[in-house]
């Protein structure tokens, strides 16, 4: 036990795990109804991990060898699950991102969730989420990671369904949990298979080069693909992306935290985490690349037609996740992970800003916000624009650098189609992002009538409370400076800087794609003469297709209804009632029936009974005599 205290690093990791769960437990059991105390506990328990994360990052900036702590958690016979921490650049960076964003969101939520009756619960759930996400970051083994990964799912379920009185919220929570679970089952199968064939699932071990050589290729591919199922679920890749847009039913800070910056990034992080293993399977890489691309295009197109601001950012998240997967799958570990980092910053910013608008105007529709004078909220408007620029990949914001890195990776991929797709995705991203920005910035009908219609319901919101704006400013700062840290991060993550041969064709095409997207958005939504209809509406069929979200929701609903409920469940239930239970009842009734039948043997007629008796005696006697 003394080792736990003498080794500060270990103690730090340990605290990162213990404090959030302590906070969760304390709040749930004791202080649920005391908002202030709950807040204090929760903040305390998120600030310390934050400080630990940054100090660890600082301390191990020049880390050469990963630091591993392992303790036995489960010691069964074949299955041994260690509980431990693995500190290497990948995990340290993620740890920092998670700690930071979750701290910021907790601060922000003070304002956003003020007065909510479930305030205590909310912070408890946030703590639980922090626990699980921190656990994902620093787990030393894949099974431990899986456990935290599942906890992420649980806390996201609780947070999405936080406003459980709303049917849509509880439905969305359920959907998120089940859909991610769908992927997780694949993940777990992968883990099971790897455990069986390989046994030791420590990440340090899995990633070692020896493993890739000792395992047959089919096993690596199977394992990698199955694990990728989990990634598809958590990181909302096609076709399991459907839960993410619905998940916006949760409070906006939750969307910012879970569904943009951390939880959805967990999938990408997982690939980065076991990148050496993953990249040993070309099949898995190809599948990932294809699915990432499909996801990117699909969600971008849907984002183009959405009117709910959070929906837009949700689809944008999906598309950016697709981008990250593409980057990773194209062979560039750094590009994907770097985009994850920058994306965490600017997407959280986007959501938090939107949250301010939503909180202020009480609506999710950005047309309405614009009409109500959204641009008058200066800080959010400025920061949201910064974030939008970053998202679109405009220099000098962070997104530019990371996106360029990904496009670079795609460019180097032998098949250029992926690169073109990436470019197209970048174009679409810029378009839908600035569609929102332009609508907000240049409202077409700036005098909404309803202002006269009834009392201004949000009169009390004068400006934005500081607890909400400070996180915005911090994130905006990050968004601006993070791009320039690319070199440092490269050295940190890879141990060396990449040799950048500046490919101007690549650079130019990326910038052109982004700018043309913005330009198109300007034409459609921004300029004075804009008709405020997307170019896509010229192709109504396509627009409808996009509006219906490529019919993916319909597909899943149909799948669920037709197969799960309609076929299996119904048939099994029928079988249970009629065949199994009916069979048993039949046996029972036929027993009674045979009893009734046999009771006719006992006729009231004495002589008939005697006759029977005599015949049986004779029969038995004859039987006995026959053999002799």
């Amino acid at each position: 036990m003394s080792a736990w205290f003498s080794d500060l690093t270990l103690l730090g990791c340990f605290l990162c795990m213990v404090l959030p769960i302590a906070s969760f437990g304390l709040i749930m059991i004791f202080t649920r109804n005391n908002h202030k105390l709950s807040l204090a506990i929760s903040l305390l328990c998120s600030t310390i991990p934050l400080m630990i994360a940054w100090s660890l990052l600082y301390r191990y900036w020049d880390i050469a060898e990963p630091i591993v702590y392992n303790y036995d958690w489960i010691l069964s016979d074949f299955i041994k699950i260690p509980f431990g921490f693995l500190l290497d650049p990948t995990s340290l960076l993620m740890l920092t991102i998670v700690a930071t964003i979750s701290w910021l969101v907790q601060i922000y939520s003070i304002g956003y969730m003020e007065g909510d009756p479930g305030f205590g619960n909310y912070y408890a759930f946030l703590s639980l989420f922090a626990l699980s996400m921190l656990g994902v970051s620093i787990s030393s083994g894949l099974l431990q990671l899986y456990i935290c990964w599942e906890l992420v799912g649980v806390s996201s379920y609780l947070l999405i369904g936080f406003w459980y009185e709303k049917f849509s919220a509880s439905e969305a929570g359920k959907k998120a949990f089940v859909v991610t679970r769908f992927g997780d089952v694949g993940f777990f199968m992968g883990l099971a298979i790897l455990t069986i064939f390989y046994g030791n699932l420590e990440i340090a071990n899995i990633n070692s080069a020896a493993v890739a050589q000792s395992m047959p290729p089919w096993l690596i591919s199977t394992g990698a693909l199955l694990i990728f199922c989990g990634v598809m679920g958590k990181s909302a890749q096609f076709p399991l992306h459907v839960w993410l847009p619905d998940a916006m039913e949760g409070p906006t800070p939750v969307s910012a935290l879970l569904h943009s910056a951390t939880m959805v990034a967990a999938g990408v992080f997982l690939i980065a985490r076991i990148y050496p293993f993953f990249s040993a399977s070309p099949e898995a890489m190809a599948v990932a690349l294809a699915l990432g691309t499909i996801t990117l295009l699909l969600s971008s197109t849907i984002g183009m037609v959405a009117t709910d601001i959070k929906q837009v950012w949700a689809y944008s998240t999906v598309s950016q996740l697709g981008f990250m997967i593409m980057g990773l799958a194209a062979g560039s570990y750094f590009a994907g992970y770097f985009h994850l980092t920058t994306h965490a910053g600017f997407k959280a910013l986007l959501f938090l800003c939107s949250g301010v608008f939503i909180h202020h105007f009480g609506t999710n529709d950005f047309f309405v916000m614009a009409a109500k004078g959204g641009r008058k909220l200066i800080i959010p408007m400025v920061t949201i624009t910064i974030a939008a620029l970053a998202l679109s990949g405009i220099f000098p914001f962070s997104g530019f650098f990371s996106k360029e890195a990904i496009l670079g990776a795609l460019y180097h991929h032998p098949n250029k189609i992926w690169f073109l797709m990436g470019l197209f995705g970048a174009f679409l991203t810029a378009y839908y992002t600035f569609r929102v920005i332009f609508v907000m910035l240049f409202p077409k009908n700036s005098a909404p009538e309803e202002k006269h219609g009834h009392d201004e319901p949000h009169e009390e919101h004068h400006g934005v409370p500081w607890v909400m704006s400070i996180p915005l400013l911090i994130l905006a700062t990050f968004t601006i400076i993070l791009g320039f840290c690319q070199g440092y991060l490269e050295r940190f993550l890879l141990g060396h800087t990449l040799h950048h041969e500046h490919n101007y064709l690549l650079l130019v095409s990326a910038v052109i794609a982004a700018l043309s997207g913005i330009g198109l958005a300007w034409l459609d939504w921004g300029s004075k003469k804009a008709k405020c209809v997307g170019f896509i509406s010229y192709v109504p069929a396509l627009e409808n297709f996009f509006k219906e979200k490529w019919y993916m929701d319909h597909f899943w609903r149909w799948f669920l209804n037709a197969f799960i409920y309609g076929t299996f469940s119904r048939l099994f239930t029928y079988n249970d009632r009629r065949v199994v239970d009916g069979g048993v009842d039949t046996v029972a009734f036929s027993t009674i029936g045979s009893g009734r039948l046999l009771s006719f043997l006992q006729t009231a007629l004495l002589q008939l009974n005697l006759l029977f008796m005599v015949v049986v005696v004779a029969g038995v006697g004859l039987y006995l005599l026959m053999g002799r």
Binding site: S76, K174, V178, V185, A192
Partner: protein, 490 residues
């Protein structure tokens, strides 16, 4: 197997605590409700305390049977009162202690025929304790029957919803199971050549293959009925629905484990070759049960039916783990027995509280209970999450162990069963959503939330789940200490 004789008859005391409680209750007046409750609670508390004592004081380094007491009972037939604890039954004794204690607390508000209720319940518990600690087949079976029969009256009098049918069905079903068990154990006894029912000694006998095959399949199906092995499970949802809360808790929580424990302790222990022969079938039925349970549960509208089918599914996991015959699988199975016991007890306890107030368990009539009684619903949600196999609860580890070893031994069946946990999640959350989320039903809005005292049993159960969920080694090392020699003997 190494035996360590007890210095004090802990196990006998554990067994006698409910008996003494029962006897005292029989001499109390019907009207003295409070006294009756207190007596039952103290009996349960003593049993719980002793079970915790044995659980904690079991020396895993020493291994083998500990706290052994062995007395000759019926000499001419070689029947012994032979009790002992090893890593397999220690958790189950603990489980029984916990469930009976919380069960008594859960039924604290009972007003109808209190005396008889607690008397029967204590009789039932005596049987359960006896089964778990017996190392003699005859005594094992004796207690097994004692545990099964009081159910009939408990359901009949204090039950609800088609209780007459359910009680009869359950009892007959289980007794039919016994009808298979008797020939099974007697076959082993008769062919052993040593005139004893002592399982440890019988383990040393190498039975002829046909004996093993026959005895195993008889015992498997006989005990399997109680363990709700598909397709002999239909008594279980019906029975759970009809039974009063604490009985459902005991029943799903503990009684179903008797079946699984019997398969493990008697069938597999004594007929290793038979087990090898039938393992494929066991795995198949278990996998079918897992998948089937969730799918059927998905279509149910009665809360208790839902839980009943989830039990079918979860007991399938136990069966699957046993079928693997590996240390991991059996570890997982035993752990799952414990975890599922606590979990289901929690489920029923939570439902019971709601049902006692609303008098409906129809999912579509409920709704929004998170708003009306947040704590009570919280317990249910926790149980549902356990049921969905969420980490942090004991059941997760069990499922993990079972599934991995199942995939290893029976890849196809294992993977199919594993896949069904998605449906399991859907299944659990569907109920939670329909019952506890959305707008509350105005009819129920005036109900009070559960008070700390009434919440105590549920809190104990949750605490147990979490304790062993976070520190699985507390239990797993213990289980392993018995399972490793067990599997080596297979």
């Amino acid at each position: 197997m190494v035996e360590h004789v007890a210095d004090f008859p802990y196990l006998t005391c554990m067994l006698l605590a409910p008996v003494v409680g029962l006897t005292i209750i029989l001499f109390l007046k019907e009207e003295w409700h409070f006294l009756i409750r207190v007596v039952s609670l103290s009996a349960a508390a003593i049993a719980l305390g002793l079970s915790i004592y044995t659980f904690v004081n079991y020396d895993t380094a020493l291994g083998g049977l500990q706290f052994v007491e062995k007395y000759e009972w019926v000499k001419s037939f070689g029947i012994y009162y032979y009790v002992g604890v090893d890593g397999i039954n220690a958790p189950l004794l603990l489980l029984t202690g916990i469930v009976i204690f919380t069960g008594v607390l859960t039924m604290w508000e009972l007003e109808n025929r209190v005396k008889e209720y607690f008397a029967f319940m204590l009789a039932l518990v005596t049987g359960v304790f006896g089964v778990f600690m017996s190392m003699d087949m005859f005594v094992f079976f004796l207690f097994y029957e004692i545990a099964v029969v009081p159910m009939y009256i408990l359901i009949l009098i204090w039950g609800s919803t088609r209780k007459i049918y359910a009680a009869m069905k359950l009892t007959l079903y289980l007794m039919a199971g016994s009808g298979l068990i008797i020939p099974g154990i007697l076959l082993l006894y008769a062919t052993s050549g040593i005139n004893t029912f002592d399982m440890i000694q019988l383990h040393g006998v190498h039975f002829a293959p046909w004996v093993q095959k026959t005895a195993f399949v008889l015992l498997y199906f006989g005990f399997g009925v109680l363990a709700a092995v598909w397709p002999f499970h239909t008594w279980s949802p019906v029975g759970h629905v009809a039974a009063p809360t604490a009985v459902s808790m005991l029943h799903a929580g503990v009684l179903m484990k008797l079946g699984a424990y019997g398969i493990l302790r008697v069938a597999m222990f004594l007929c290793p070759d038979g087990f090898q022969y039938w393992a494929q079938l066991m795995a198949l039925l278990a996998a079918v049960g897992i998948v089937y349970g969730v799918f059927v549960g998905l279509a149910q509208t009665d809360l208790k039916y839902v839980i009943g089918y989830s039990s079918v599914s979860h007991m399938g996991i136990v069966g699957l783990g046993l079928a693997t015959g590996t240390v991991d699988g059996i570890n997982g199975s035993v752990f799952q027995m414990f975890a599922h016991g606590v979990m289901t007890a929690l489920f029923f306890s939570a439902v019971g509280y709601i049902y006692d107030r609303t008098h409906t368990r129809m999912i579509y009539e409920l709704g929004g209970f998170s708003k009306i009684m947040p704590v009570a619903s919280g317990y249910f949600i926790i149980a549902a999450l356990c049921g969905a196999g969420v980490p942090g609860f004991a059941s997760f580890w069990a499922e993990l162990l079972v599934f991995i070893s199942a995939v290893k031994v029976f890849p196809v069946r294992g993977l199919i069963a594993l896949a069904s946990i998605v449906i399991g999640a859907l299944f659990a959350l569907r109920v939670v959503q329909k019952t506890f989320y959305n707008e509350p039903n105005p009819k129920f809005i005036h109900f009070k939330d559960v008070s700390p005292f009434l919440g105590l049993p549920r809190a104990i159960l949750v605490a147990t789940m979490v304790l062993f969920g976070i520190f699985p080694r507390l239990m797993l090392d213990l289980i392993k200490s018995a399972v490793v020699p067990f599997v080596n003997g297979l």
